[in-house]
Amino acid sequence: MARPVTVAIIEDHPVVIEGIRSWIAGQKDLAVRVVATGDTIEAVLDGPGGTADVLVLDLNLNGRLVVDRVGELCAAGHRVVVFSQHAEPEIVLAVLEAGASDFVAKDEGPAHCVAAIVSAATDLPYVTPSVAGAMTVDADPDRPRLSGKERLALLWWFQGMSKASVAQRMGIAESTVRQYIGRARAKYATVGRKAVTKTALLARAIEDGLIRPDEVGDYRSFGFDPRTRSNE
């Protein structure tokens, strides 16, 4: 069995850290180990958190929004899963653009937090409902063009049913729903500022057949580096 995914939690409310620990403990099939916790980015990175596979980051630390720090963390090669109550689409899209692997809204924690952490560790796009919602309503012309089916899959996943239900309802296989959602997410990794984490997500998406290399466009020529791929 592969070694457990290591995670460091940057969060200023101890009760939330306890919550995440209990969700991790409750998901026996997903091996995740918390290696560091702290209420500032610096405190966590200084210790064993600096080499954790995934950082879980609360956007509001001690009364300050740290949205602007996500880019710097991702540029340094950290895989960041943002965990926040600020699930407005603008913020969700901003952290994705900065290179965050995923965004978990606080009320999505029990259902999606651990899965999002594990997916992030292997550069797989997980896409929580709040991320799906943000992509669905995104009307910015600079953002990727999603197909009608991708949009529909994202909207219905956002509404709160399982991917199996979305698949039945769309009259397609569940794997195809996953593909639509993952593809949409991969398209988002092709826009905006370059980040190691985005490159890794794209490389994995290409490898898994979610997106073709030629669809990535010129992005691939910038900083595509297989060495940034994680262990699997």
Binding site: P89, V137, G160, Q168
Partner: protein
């Protein structure tokens, strides 16, 4: 006329009379006082003092003009400046020794215009008092100079009453105009207010009638059934109907609240009713919502109300604004077999069952995403 526009008219009137007061005082000083001083120049005992007085007068008038034209408040220290103006009159009179109450002592008549400016936006009593002091000073100077002959007295009276009457008439007229503008503004504002109140009352009445009609079919029916014993409060289906009517009522109350996103506000009211029953409700709103007419909002909200009223422990409501389209989704654990409500203009309703959970979606305008909607799975 709205309150704003009537106030604008009133303030324009006031500004124009203010400009008139400034123009008269300065015009008088340059067009009347200056030539008078130049003509009498050779006869002054201390011409330099008269020139200084003329400049000081101009200075006071300039300061007053700046304050009056820049703001809409009375001049502070008006009496200090007025005292200085009165002193100017005495200085000019003293310098014009032997030519009292002639053109040479121009200041007697002119300071009144300074007074008009200095006591602008104050009660007339200030100006009357000021002109009175000026008249007394003039008489005092005549007495001190010992020139109480008939001609001097006549000239004195002419100057004091002539200029004073003009100044009082102008100041009084401007105040009357201002009061008239105020009345007009107040009257038109009151009229506009009455009109708005009347229209609001009509709209409220119309909405109330519509809500009453909406409730007659459903709420009144269940209340009547409860009253005459046809419906038993212990019956779960009656309980569900009651929960639904409670949500409907709350939504109708919320309908009249004037808020930016009425659809979300109304759904919040429905969510609140479900939460009171102990259902954990999660409401997520994304995208910007187009304006939705009230009858469409009602049709969009009915299926969510039906499902929320049947929810047992948890429900998730989502509202997505996709350009000009609104999509409402509700997922809840409910025993409801299907959703019946939600027939409205151009509103698409679809539902889907996955085990314990029922999933309902309403869309407006109706551009159904796939032909497979409106299927029931179990």
């Amino acid at each position: 006329m709205s309150r704003d526009s009537s106030e604008l008219v009133a303030s324009t009137y006031m500004r124009n009379t203010t400009i008139a007061a400034v123009v008269i005082a300065l015009g008088w000083h340059v067009g009347e006082d200056l030539p008078a001083m130049i003509i009498a120049w050779a006869g002054y005992r201390w011409p330099a003092a008269v020139a200084a007085a003329w400049l000081a007068y101009a200075g006071i008038a300039g300061v007053a003009a700046l304050v009056l034209l820049r703001g809409d408040r009375p001049i502070r220290y008006a009496w200090a400046l007025a005292t200085a103006a009165l002193v100017l009159g005495v200085v000019v009179a003293a310098a014009a020794h032997g030519q009292l109450m002639t053109l040479a002592s121009w200041a007697w008549g002119a300071v009144g215009w300074l007074g008009v400016m200095l006591f602008w936006r104050r009660s007339m009593a200030h100006l009357v008092c000021f002109l009175g002091v000026n008249a007394v000073l003039g008489l005092g100077v005549l007495v001190v100079a010992g020139t109480l002959d008939r001609i001097s007295i006549a000239r004195y009276l002419m100057v004091v009453t002539g200029s004073g009457a003009l100044q009082l008439a102008f100041a009084g007229g401007a105040r009357a105009l201002r009061a008239a503008a105020d009345w007009t503004a107040a009257a038109s504002a009151a009229h506009a207010e009455t009109l708005t109140a009347q229209r609001t009352a009509e709209e409220v009445h119309r909405m109330r009638q519509r809500r009453f009609q909406a409730l007659q079919h459903t709420t009144a029916h269940i209340l009547a059934a409860l009253a005459d014993g046809r419906a038993l409060p212990s019956d779960p289906s009656v309980q569900r109907s009651c929960a639904m009517e409670a949500a409907r009522l709350r939504r109708l109350f919320a309908e009249t609240d004037d808020l930016p996103d009425p659809l979300v506000h109304e759904l919040e009211a429905c969510a609140d009713v479900a939460e009171r029953r102990g259902v954990a409700v999660d409401l997520a709103v994304i995208g910007s919502l187009p304006g939705v007419p009230v009858n469409v909002r009602r049709a969009l909200a009915e299926p969510p109300i039906e499902l929320l009223s049947a929810a047992k422990t948890s429900a998730r409501i989502t509202v997505a604004g996709l350009g000009d389209q609104v999509v409402i989704g509700v997922v809840a654990d409910a025993d409801l077999a299907r959703v019946d409500s939600g027939h409205g203009p151009d509103v698409a309703v679809s539902w889907f069952r996955e085990g314990e959970r029922l999933w309902v979606e309403t869309r407006w305008p109706d551009r159904s995403p796939s032909p497979s909607s409106k299927t029931i799975q179990s």
